[in-house]
Point group: D3
Chain length 237, copies 6
């Protein structure tokens, strides 16, 4: 039995609250159970220097966690003077995931920065962030279209993410914190609405895992991603 009494292939309750930030061009409070991430998409009419003059735009992401999002209070990264390796790894992942489904040429010479700030953490903050970021990005692009900055919304597809793990030999979908700490193997899948792979990250925490285990997790992930993409569609309909 999972700590949350879910079936092995059952996701946590997922919700998207759009437009939660008055100032942002797109925003979304995404919840995967008790994991809550506030996502804000900001349009800026400027580009990183290395990208100027190439006729295309950029989408980047930053990730943060409020100090008391976690069971124990976590020190602010500004106190250490630099983002942790974990933070940098996650924000690079979010940025790459979003860029795969945006048509950067159609976006034009502009940058969209997607800030993902974890308000409350209970496992799967990066997968919730990516899934919610699609909503905020979509809404930012809609905002631009409504103001005739774009003629169409330059999104090629949906993108969503979910984690899977092997716990006591059982493959499980969408791990929460209690399971994540126990998992022998932890895989994050970032996939498109069309079922393509955007990012795969599998990590053996204790012992190596097998191809069979990987395939079982992949099967669960396909199911979870399908559900997340359906929810995204409903949210923006």
């Amino acid at each position: 039995m999972r700590p949350s009494r879910r079936a092995p292939d059952e996701m946590r309750a997922v919700s998207f609250e759009r437009g939660v930030l008055r100032h942002a061009e797109g925003s979304c409070l995404v919840k995967f159970g008790e994991t809550h991430v506030l996502v804000a998409a900001t349009l800026e009419e400027r580009l990183p220097p290395w990208l100027k003059g190439q006729g295309r735009g950029w989408v980047t992401a930053e990730y943060g966690m409020l100090p008391r999002a976690t069971h124990e209070r976590t020190r602010r990264e500004v106190t250490a003077g630099k983002p942790s390796g974990r933070t940098m790894e996650i924000q690079r992942l979010i940025g790459r995931s979003l860029r795969t489904i945006v048509d950067l040429e159609k976006l034009g010479e502009r940058q969209i920065t997607v800030d993902c700030d974890v308000i409350q953490a209970d496992g799967g903050t990066r997968t919730a962030a990516i899934t919610g970021a699609w909503i905020a990005l979509h809404d930012c692009l809609s905002w631009m279209k409504a103001r005739s900055l774009l003629s169409t919304i330059p999104l090629r597809d949906h993108v969503a993410a979910v984690s899977c793990g092997i716990i006591d030999g059982e493959p499980r979908l969408d791990l929460d914190y209690a399971e994540d700490s126990d998992a022998g193997t932890d895989c994050n899948f970032v996939m498109t609405g069309g079922g393509g792979f955007v990012e795969l990250q599998g990590t053996a925490e204790k012992a190596p895992f097998t191809e069979e285990e990987f395939n079982a997790m992949l099967g669960l992930a396909r199911k979870g991603i399908g559900r997340l993409v359906d929810l995204q569609k409903m949210a923006v309909a």
Copy 2:
């Protein structure tokens, strides 16, 4: 006419949502109109080194702002590698304000850290933070009392804060961002339920201000603080 159509002595709509963070010992989402601050109080059974062995505790505060709390996106402070002067000034103010009304001896050799993170900014983030911090601190102390870590709640009084300003010669209570940018003078008042001064900060932005102007602002502040303390009482009743 104020941009918000409020009377000169009228505060914005104020609300406190308690217990919004699952992991924190005390938490509160405080809203002063469109200014929203998430406050989390964390109990830690440790003390800063310079305070050890003196038989009393400590209350400290940290302040942050999400990048897109503001009209234009603000760069994360971790990117600059250090908190700004403004951030340090505000978090020192919040910490001092709270310590004035806590009986640190009765708290015992423990530290409570109060994190104030601005989710959305529309002027008066420091005053909203202090006012909401009292709630989160109160709830953290109640949590401790419920677990018999304390026999009574070691709060001597309420503490709340409000800003006042002179705009076009008119003294006004609880400035929002539009007014704050225009104000020739800006005063922050931190006061107790009993009407004592905890902190006064008055700044002439353009021209010096007079004693009469100060007294007019003080009169407004007394009224606003009275209202805030009433709301705090209702919130924790």
Copy 3:
């Protein structure tokens, strides 16, 4: 009896030594008793980027303390890699105080940086710094006028600062270190020659203070500021 045997409304011996730095456009060694601050005003024909092209200038301040200005040696801030919150708070205060009495339009598109370095500290370093900074700034502007960079000295008024406190129930003027450590309440007043308020900063260190106490401190401050402005006038006469 005050540790320094002064009357409650008596300032420490105050002196200004002008022109102490050969290279600076204006400089002043200001002493409030055993508190000694070296102030240097530097003219630079450049502006911070956000101010360019607006037809007005800027005055900013930086504050530092030599390691052995204090009873115990204080670690250099460069060793910590960043200025402390206290340093940033003070240098922001000095800069705002000076800008209130300078006509920035008449200054033209130039920046004056006022460096205040504490050579020896015995309480009231920020008030001594502001008071001496007016002299250094005045002399820098005179230097500019003498070289026909300005047709008049664009100072609207004097600005000076003094601290007051309540110690054992007694309001006192111009606290030294021994008193500052003991004070239940500590107020810094920055005022113009004309008696206007530039900055007020009142802090209850232990218990809240009353309006009567504030007014008593304000009365002392008016007296002290009056004396400081007279001394400034004599110094530059």
Copy 4:
């Protein structure tokens, strides 16, 4: 045709030069073609604070790149004041990969730090680093056994890594820099001698990739890892 004229399933020339550093307990210069990584394993009789007293050891890794390892000179990370996100991501990956195959209980309360410094880069620096790190770690453990610090070498298996990619629709093994820049998809596989997965990292650079493409890359990776493990065995025989 690949730029290096290799067959799609052909690795670059791989070599290990052991004992290249006089002072290190284990060291190895690993070459994957023109990618050269110097690996040093250091035994330290101390542990990170959070691991003390648990009866087991730790293996960690650090990764660096000489400024002129690259086509264009790369700025030293110390100049920026902090490691890049890429560096942190890679060194975390190397550390996790090694820990999966070490019996940390048998290692005892000691830490081995594995430094991987890229002398020359031509794609695949992280895979070369992991593969060479196994040799340096093995030799460090042998050094300990020879000094009776260990009774057996606490390695459960080999670990090696290789990258695969899809270029112009063709799955290829062990990408060099020219191919890496062109690849639509880039997967890094870290696997044990027994064929278990330690880490999987797949990234769609431009368009999503399919399960078939992933499986083709996995097949190539199995072949490459098998070859690398054989070479490791020969090297330490």
Copy 5:
């Protein structure tokens, strides 16, 4: 003719003002012409960790420069977040120079930190700092002896420093800023009262220099150091 109209073998006016800092155990304002350095010696009853328990003490130095010590204002090092290479080079030099003439065993397990802060710079700040540091260190040790912390003053000798250069082919003693900028060769000599070498630093700014030139500079330095040591003796007599 030298810009200062001095003879080639003539030092600038040198003076030592002792006891200028109320809080420091030893202090000295040293002037080499228009170069003014404030030196403070601080006794601390602690040691750097690597020196504990060896029965001997430590003398270290830190060096700083006020922003407007220079012709053009120099940015504070704390703003850059770290000391410059020049600062570190100089403070290491001062520390080594002092340690050579102190009997660290007799000092006991204590540290003396000598802070050298340049108030005004006109060339030769490091040589003035070393020469004045001897006075401050001497006075700190006398302070200790007066309080019976030491039975004798553990100084083996005097130490003083002077720069020499070759300008237009002419060897000159004690370069000021105008000469320093022009010098083809610049040598700093740190020597004891007994004529021993403590530190030699010779730098060819433009073209290499010859052994004859070096010997000419050495002859001047011997003369200058002799004079400085005489002045030190008079100062502490």
Copy 6:
């Protein structure tokens, strides 16, 4: 007897391996016995801002040490966030030494950065770095001449460096780590092929040294430098 069984005036085995880095315009692995430094010279068609438009180029150096170049592992400087004082001192020395023998006008408005990374340390890393840097710089300039970026190689002379010390009263040439730790006096000599002084750095580690001792070291240094310059000539012949 020296630990290495060398005669007092005998250098360690010195070798230069040219062209070891595929991407660099000039490179050299220089060995002074067990001290191994990898030097890379990088041509960049840009200049530091303060040098632009003056019709001449710049040569600068950076110095680093791999963590396990040393007996005990040394922490990476990036971990501390800044280069150590020692690193900055050494890289400034290398840069100055090279600039003395390059005709910067003939180089044109370009910068050559010479990276010296210590692969293995056994004393004398700075002297080996300078001596090898001449080779890498020469080869970078030859590379430029071969591509008609220069009509002649703008080197005025050779430059090489060696350390000498006094150990147990005996002057010795080219100290290794064991001797360096023991030396009472340590001098680094940087000289040209023509016998001119470029840099002299003499440090009394324990007691002051005499002019006779200095001259004895200088005699050894002349011999060592002569040998190094001969080896440089053979290497590039």
